[in-house]
Symmetry: C2
Subunit: 374 residues, 2 copies
């Protein structure tokens, strides 16, 4: 059993995908986890998959529970109320929430303190956190204890938070294998508006233009369209809450987008005008510059990998055979993409490797009769 | 040697990435290919890599050449002039261009016919085509004969084109292993505006907002941001030409985007207003619906694959070992993604398989000690 920072017990309020995943991850580490959810079904499933045991569900005296930590895994629009309730009910516990917006929840808790709904000192035990992880499925049945492995876990300390509570919040992320990142609630909300909420909006706006597209147009779709629209398949219910709770930060970015879009439309309405091509060049170059700033794998500085492209038949085992040869070549794979194309039973596999290793890999694979496009 | 439809000789005007790739692909099939480029260096490199032999470069009498087909692989802004010149110089040849916009080139050629710069009948020998293929590199040194394999090759017949010329244009795509798709120039330009030019613009507009982002915000970037901005790294020089030549079609789509964006900004400026959440839900659901219409691999109807996620250490050979086990399980891999996360030396590999096969694969891999998140 791995050594943990948390000693428990840990109470999880809300046993959807994320809450149940937290419970599973902690339970496997030997931490005593209690579960509670407004839905009896959700909490029963969470217990069945091993995420912990239902609060008050048998031998325990729920009222006597003194959790070290309460994890509020409720949707953004009820998170603040559940946190306030937990602060009142468990006067010794650190209480964290894991919702994807932070400033609106902290503001609601400050209001609750001002209104006397929670004691003035209670706020010192609250810390907002945000694990940057998710799945395309939802609900406790989709929960996985490894969901947070190697993902950022943002811990948002605030002026009234006690150092002990902040440490406990960080311990939760660390115990679950995540990478703890510290920033305040405002910084967090501005950051996720830019790197998460804005791409979601852009992808949804882009994909929605395809609704009435003729089928022959869609038959020409390539990886560019597929990549840019993949997240447009996300769950509307969750995103409505996220976007409405972080609206001021998102709107700031959308104002910038609107300015750029207006300029671009004016340019393309008269592409023969003086300076039009220069305007287009500027848009494209700004896109180049912004894209180049996104960090690479493992938080390393952005780095261009060398891409070795291999043509494979679409038969079971072909990709495996190729990857086995790559492994034997002793070259580490930094990334892999399969190229989807229409109407043919062959495809391309793009292998990304460190720039210095591509010649060697190309030679090795060519020697083994692979059709390589370096 | 594979049997070809074309008998040649084929003259390629323009030996950049695409022209040289056409030459390489045809030369390997045994077709006699001649090369010409305004840049002596580019044409020499193309000859050196085996794309064909330089026109007039030795034993041949360039003036006596009677090509079956002339392939104009010049940039969009000079393509029409080069086509017109080829129609005059080679009065028996079919002439195709492979630029990524089609209506503006056809219109320029009609003007040339009206102005008497080409003979009235010459237009019957011209057919516009567009191979939907490319690489992140450019120039003849990056050329690959397999570049067009399994990719769509759009053939745009027009009212004055002879059936024989259209057939020759289609033969070119077929000989290079591409999938021939027929539509007229206007349909083509509207289609690529939507599935290629618009995603490029959306990605560039999105990425350009990252230019001045704080580094701590970018450290939270996940696959959503990476996917939506990948094509923002594209070459500005080429895209300036493409966008300016297809401006009317692109502008139509951008007007629709602007309407949606204005509505969204108004909604997010007052997210507490009546109907605001419904508006957000509508945007997200339209995005869902549009994304679901994009055809899957091999042109099949869009289909949700089951995703089996496996956690792997970031060591050479791990992915290969995993894929070897997938191959042994006898389950065909429809897609594979590696999940990039920051700061950790482990990663996730997402294996997409037919929905009915995921349980079996999960069992097989779990039995072999892989950490599987189904």
């Amino acid at each position: 059993m791995t050594e943990t920072h948390l000693h428990g017990p840990v109470l999880i309020l809300g046993t959807g995908l994320l809450g149940a995943s937290v419970g599973l991850g902690l339970s496997r580490l030997g931490v005593d986890v209690l579960l509670s959810d407004p839905s009896p079904t959700a909490q029963a499933i969470a217990q069945d998959i091993g995420a912990g045991r239902i609060l008050g569900g048998g031998e325990d005296d729920a009222a006597a529970l003194q959790p070290q930590l309460v994890v509020v895994a409720a949707p953004p629009d009820v998170a603040a109320a559940v946190v306030a309730d937990a602060l009142r009910t468990y006067p010794e516990a650190t209480v964290v929430d894991i919702a994807s917006v932070k400033a609106s929840i902290l503001a609601a808790l400050r209001q609750a303190a001002d209104a006397g709904e929670i004691a003035p000192g209670d706020l010192s035990r609250y810390v907002g956190t945000h694990p940057m992880a998710g799945r395309e499925k939802s609900g406790p049945a989709a929960a996985r204890g490894e969901l947070f492995t190697a993902m950022p876990w943002v811990v948002c300390a605030h002026a009234d938070a006690s150092p002990a509570a902040v440490r406990t919040a960080a311990d939760l992320g660390a115990d679950l294998g995540a990478t703890v990142v510290r920033m305040d609630a405002a910084e967090h909300d501005a950051a996720v508006a830019l790197v998460s909420h804005f791409p979601q909006i852009a992808s949804s706006l882009l994909a929605s233009r395809l609704m009435n597209a003729p089928a022959h147009a869609l038959s020409l779709a390539g990886n560019g369209l597929r990549d840019t629209t993949r997240i447009a398949a996300s769950d509307p219910r969750l995103w409505i809450q996220i976007l409405s709770h972080n609206a001021p930060e998102v709107v700031k970015i959308l104002h910038g987008l609107r300015e750029d879009l207006n300029r671009l439309i004016a340019t393309l309405e008269d592409p023969g005008a003086d300076g039009a091509l220069l305007d287009l060049a500027k848009l494209m170059e700004e896109g180049n510059a912004g894209q180049a700033r996104i960090p690479g794998k493992h938080g390393s500085p952005p780095r261009a990998f060398a891409v070795v492209t291999v043509i494979v038949d679409d038969r079971p085992g072909q990709i495996a055979r190729l990857l086995a040869d790559v492994g034997e070549a002793g070259v580490n794979l930094e990334d892999l993409r399969m190229d989807h194309s229409s109407g043919h039973q062959v495809g391309m596999v793009e292998l990304s490797v460190l720039p210095g290793r591509s010649e060697e890999l190309t030679q090795y694979l060519s020697d083994r009769q692979w059709k390589v496009i370096q």
